[in-house]
Every structure is written in C-alpha cells, then in structure tokens.
C-alpha cells in the first residue's frame, strides 16, 4: 500500500484550542504534525489538562482547528459534509449517555444514522452491520437488555459497538478505559487492538493509563502539558526518555527499567536482601514502598534473608541485632516498626 492510501488521519501544522469571540483564542497545542495509519492502534497519552480531549474533538471534526490542515481518509476535514465525515470517522466520547428506555440494540442501531433514509428505517444491510458490531465487542448476548441496567464496562462496549455500527474505518475514543476496572480495561484494549489489526481500522484513543497503553498500542502520541506531541513506538519513546519528560514531576519518578512510575523518595535508610525468585522481587517492592534504599554498598539498617520451608516462603530479618523469623511481609514490617519505635524512645 502506498503512503497516501495507508494514511487514515493526517495533521499538518494544526493548532488546537478554544475560539473566543472577544478575546484572543486560547491555544492548547500548536503546530502539530502527526499521522494515523489504517491497521494501527495509537494511544494518545498525557497528563490531565494537557489537551488530549481537545485534540480528540478537533480531529473528529467536533471542534474546529484554529489553524492548519486535517485530512481524514485523504479528504480535507473542512470540506467534508457532516454525513460524509460520519461515514469515515466515528467516535466514543466521555459525554454521559442518559439514554434510558433504550435497549442495547436500540443504542447500537443509532450508529446507522448516516446510512439510513430520512425515516430512519433499518434495512437488511443495517441489521447485519449492527449484529456484526455487537458481536465484535461481545455484547450480542445483551441485545435485548436495557442500557441503564448495564455495568460501566458493558456500557462502554455498547458505545464502541454503536461507533462500529456507523461503518467508519477510523475510530476515535476519548478515555474509553476510565471508570472501567482493570481486567475490563485489558479486555477493551484487546478488542480495539483486534479491530485495528483484523479489520484494518485506524484507531486512536486517549488515555492516562500508561501501563496498558504501553502494552497494547502500536504507536504512542505522547502529549506534554504544553500541548507538544512526541510520536513513536512505545519502546523508542522510552529509550529517548520522552516519558520522563512528559510525566515526571516532584515526587514522581520514571523508572526506566520497570517501565512505570515510582513515588520518588530519597531513601534515608537502606536494606540488604538475600534470596532469589518471585518472593525476592516482591520483597524488594515492599522495601522500596516502605522507603528503604537497596543500594548494595550502602550502610544497611535492615537485613532480610529469604528461604523456603516446605514450599512456603520464610523471611529472617535482623536490624543490627538478633534474628527473627516471619511467615509474611506484614508481620515482618510490624516487627520492624515496633523496633523503630522502641529505638526512638528508649
């Protein structure tokens, strides 16, 4: 496929923000040049207030761009009629949907709006597409249920099904995983990934769920709080240190090796740890969380040795004193805290 055909959405020197009648426009991000291809899932990441939603709405044609050129599927967004645009691009928004008295089927069928005649009557083709959309996200069994009886995760899937029923090859979602529990988030991302790869759709979603985005996105658009965007493979961005630049702030540090964020604290005490395997990994996490440094050559205040009796982990610990044995980290830290208290008030 040529570069032209491959590109679903392209932004050239686009500025986004709010138009104001009396005052100067509020520019959220300026001179953005980006592209989204068919067959890829792109996550738009950034801190709250960076302008992710504004970019999503601008790109979807719901808000006007302040300047620059946006093309969707080869056509200038501004010259497309609302109906033509709706056939190329569908959205899932964060807007509350108070559509009670609607069955799931009823909501999904609203997506056929750009395709039906003025009466809104559904034909054979419409029904087939609605069924396909519901099956794709796994809500076909809910078709007759009332929308307001569903869980947040199910509702979000129904809204995605509605967007799919619109039969557009570009799908843009604003924070689709907010308010959804973790397993459901992973499932939603898997569904979107499959749609991008198997149906050759171009999918852009905004999120501030870094971990899941890193795992499932083909590419990332990383937006900093000044509205500038770095685009690329998650790994390339990590290597370039882009995450640290965008998200790092006082007290929060980007952990390069773990690929996640840590509470940044300068440790005032250190621990030494002996042992291997999963138990050692989790013990290390616990010590870090409790504020211990784990530098090998530091003067340690706490020593922990991990061993194993009949398949159960056992911790032996000493705070420069006698050794004690524990069967959980919780009891270990209770003892440590008691020791510390005793040490402070002899």
């Amino acid at each position: 496929m040529s570069e032209e055909l491959d590109t679903a959405v392209s932004l050239e020197g686009v500025s986004i923000g709010y138009e104001s009648r009396n005052e100067a426009n509020t520019v959220v991000g300026s001179d953005l040049s980006l592209s989204l291809k068919f067959g890829e899932l792109v996550c738009l990441l950034g801190p709250n207030g960076a302008g992710k939603s504004t970019l999503i709405r601008t790109l979807a044609g719901l808000d006007p761009a302040l300047s620059g050129k946006i093309k969707i599927d080869g056509s200038d967004l501004e010259t497309l009629s609302p109906n033509e645009r709706a056939r190329k691009l569908s959205v899932v928004l964060t807007d509350a949907v108070p559509a009670g008295l609607f069955t799931v089927y009823g909501i999904v069928s609203l997506g056929r709006h750009p395709h039906t005649r003025w009466t809104g009557e559904l034909g054979e083709e419409d029904r087939a597409r609605i069924n396909w959309a519901m099956e794709s996200v796994g809500v076909d069994s809910l078709a007759r249920r009332q929308f307001d009886e569903l869980s947040d995760g199910e509702r979000q899937k129904v809204m995605i099904a509605r967007a799919l029923a619109q039969e557009a090859s570009i799908l843009v979602l604003d924070e689709p995983t907010a308010f959804v529990d973790l397993p459901r988030r992973v499932e939603l991302m898997r569904i979107l990934q499959e749609l991008a790869h198997k149906e050759n759709m171009a999918i852009l979603l905004s999120s501030h769920d870094l971990e899941i985005s890193l795992r499932s996105a083909d590419r990332l658009w990383l937006m900093n709080d000044r509205g500038a965007i770095a685009a690329g493979l998650p790994e390339d961005l990590a290597i370039r240190g882009a995450f640290a630049e965008v998200f790092e702030s006082d007290g929060i540090g980007w952990d390069f090796e773990q690929g996640g964020f840590q509470l940044k604290r300068d440790p005032d005490r250190f621990a030494r740890i002996e042992g291997e395997g999963d138990v050692a990994v989790w013990t290390r996490k616990a010590l870090l969380r409790k504020g211990y440094g784990l530098d090998a050559d530091a003067e340690w205040a706490l020593e922990v040795i991990i061993s194993n009796i009949n398949g159960h982990p056992i911790w032996r610990a000493s705070a420069r004193g006698p050794w004690k044995t524990f069967d959980s980290l919780e009891t270990l830290f209770q003892w440590v805290e008691a020791q510390e208290k005793a040490g402070r008030s002899p």
Binding site: R57, A60, G61, L62, S81, P82, N83, E84, R85, A86, R87, L89, S90, V91, L93, D95, A96, V97, P98, A99, G100, L101, F102, G106, I107, L110, G111, H113, P114, T116, W118, T119, G120, Q146, D148, Q166
Partner: protein, 327 residues
C-alpha cells in the same frame, strides 16, 4: 371524540350527532346546529391542540434533555400573554375595540394579539438559538418569560377589574372559542407543524445521545436544533394563540407515552404522543364541560387536576424519568 361531541351542558343523543355529522342538513333543528356549529369545531380544536402540545413538549424535552421542559420553555406563552394583555388591557379600554366589539371581533383580536406576541418571542429565540448552547438558551427563555411576565403584571396592576376578568378567562385556556372560520387557519397551521416534525424524527433520536454524539453521526446540530425548536414553538404558539395557555398537557403526554410504550425512540413517541395528547385534551375538555352541570371549569385546572395523579402514579411505578434523562 364522539363522546365529547355528544356530551355538554345539554346532552345530545348519539343518533342526532351521527345524523348531523353525516350531513342531514335539512334536519335544521337546534340540536344538529349545536353539533355542527359548536360541538364539532370544539372537539376538533381540542384534539389538534392536545396533539400539537404533546408533540411540541416531546421535542423540547429531547432537545433540552430535560424532563421538565414543556412546549413553552422558550417563552412563547409569555409572549402570547403580553399580546393578549395589550389587546385586552391597553387597547380595549382606550376604545380601539369597544365593549360591543369585544364580543363580535374581540376574540379574533385576542387571537391576533397572542399569536403575534408568541411569534415575536419565537423569532427572537430562534435567532439566539444559533448563537448559544442549549443550556444558555433554556435560561434565556426563562429570563425572557420572567421579564415579559413582569410587564404583564404591571399592565394588570393598572387595569380595571372587568378587563382583568376577561384576561383571566383567556389565561384559563378554552377550546370553545374557535369557530369554523378560525379553524380553517388553526387546523392547517397545526397540521403543517406536525408534518414538519416527521422528517425531524431521526434527528430527535440522534439528539438523545447529546449534541456532540449527534454531530459525530452527521447531524447538522445547529440547523437541526433550530428546526425542531421552531416547529415545536410554532405548534405551541398557534395553540396558545387560539385557545390560551394550556398547561400540563405538553409535559405529561410525552411521559405518559414513554410509560405506555417503554421506549425512547421517536418513531414511536411522536405518533404516540400525538394521539395521547389529542385524546387527553378531549377528555379534559369533556370534564371541563361537566356534563349535566351548568357551570364549566377552567380547562387548565382540569388538565392538571385530573392529569397529574395519572402521571405521578405512572412515574412512581416505573421511575422512567431517571431512566430517560439519567441522573
């Protein structure tokens, strides 16, 4: 509808009614004249008004996504009442329409006053509707109503008691004032308004998901909003112009319809509200005429007094309000 025609201060036998409808003109007795000249136009007016108010109310509730929206949220009824107040309280006492004139051409003047007042408010708000979002529009409509209401109060304060009486009787609502000749304007206006709503049904459905979603599905939101509000206000304005401000029906009929059909889809709700609104209006008029009793009740009192408990019961049972509008 036939029941409405048959019953009144003087009950008319069913057979006579059928005869006079089927054009037994030669019968010439007083009963069939009553049927032809009063009862039939009154029943038609009641049905059309009820249908118009119900459909207008439904449209307003959907566009404003507010269960309390009624056909008059944009203030067309306050515009109408100012028009009527000017006719009855200002013009009449200064001698433009004499007391005698009030009886003959007076009603027509009232109709002109209220329709004109409603039309001015309507045009004003439709211009505003293109500039502001729906919530601001709702508040502007409310403010306009209060403002106009204040002017009306001032007019009333300086008016004579007998003028006030006729103003009050207008404000109670009444289906009986519309004659055949007025019906020839009233009916087409209502039918045009209702017919214009038909192609907007699809847009109304899209609006249920909110304006942003509607826009994303290819709806021209501003044009759609103006068309729907224009249509609804036309219906409400015409009814108010001819029959006075008739409350409650426009809020209640759509809710009752949702309760009956358990859907939000306008393909069903628009025709449903139309029929239910028309039917409820006939019933209300029937009760207002109070068969067998000399006096008639104010129509507005009847619609609210008898309609409210039905709606309250339906809502308590279903909790549909929350379902439809969230929250």
């Amino acid at each position: 509808m036939l029941a409405n025609i048959c019953l009144g201060s003087a009950p008319i036998p069913f057979g006579t009614v059928i005869d006079s409808i089927l054009g037994a003109k030669d019968s010439g007795d007083i009963m069939s004249e009553i049927v032809r000249e009063f009862r039939i136009p009154r029943a038609l007016t009641a049905f059309l008004s009820g249908a118009a108010l119900a459909v207008a109310g439904l449209a307003m509730q959907t566009v404003f996504r507010n269960p309390l929206a009624d056909p008059f949220v944009l203030g067309v009824n306050s515009g109408a009442s100012l028009g009527v107040a000017i006719v009855l309280l200002v013009l009449a006492p200064t001698g433009v329409a004499l007391t005698q004139g009030l009886h003959l051409s007076g009603h027509l003047l009232v109709v002109l006053g209220s329709t004109g007042g409603a039309a001015i408010v309507l045009v004003l708000l439709l211009v505003l509707a293109q500039r502001v979002d729906v919530m601001s529009l709702l508040i502007l409509g409310l403010m306009l109503s209060y403002g106009i209401g204040a002017i009306v109060s001032i007019l009333m304060f300086y008016s004579m008691a007998e003028r006030l009486q006729s103003f009050f009787s207008w404000s109670f609502g009444n289906f009986s004032g519309v004659t055949w000749s007025q019906l020839s304007v009233f009916a087409p206006a209502i039918l045009i308004g209702l017919a214009a709503m038909a192609p907007l049904i699809k847009t109304l459905d899209a609006f249920l998901l909110g304006e942003r979603y509607a826009q994303s599905m290819g709806v021209r939101v501003k044009q759609g909003r103006v068309a729907i509000l224009g249509c609804a206000s036309l219906l409400a304005g015409v009814v108010t112009g001819f029959c006075g401000p008739i409350g409650f029906l426009g809020i209640a009929a759509p809710h009752f319809c949702r309760f009956l059909f358990k859907t939000s889809q306008h393909r069903i709700l628009v025709p449903g509200s139309l029929l239910i609104g028309g039917f409820v209006a006939l019933m209300a008029d029937l009760i207002a005429k109070a068969p067998g009793v000399e006096a008639t009740l104010p129509l507005n009192a009847v619609t609210a007094l008898f309609g409210a408990p039905v709606i309250v019961a339906a809502l308590l049972k279903q909790r549909n309000l929350r379902k439809v509008f969230g929250g």
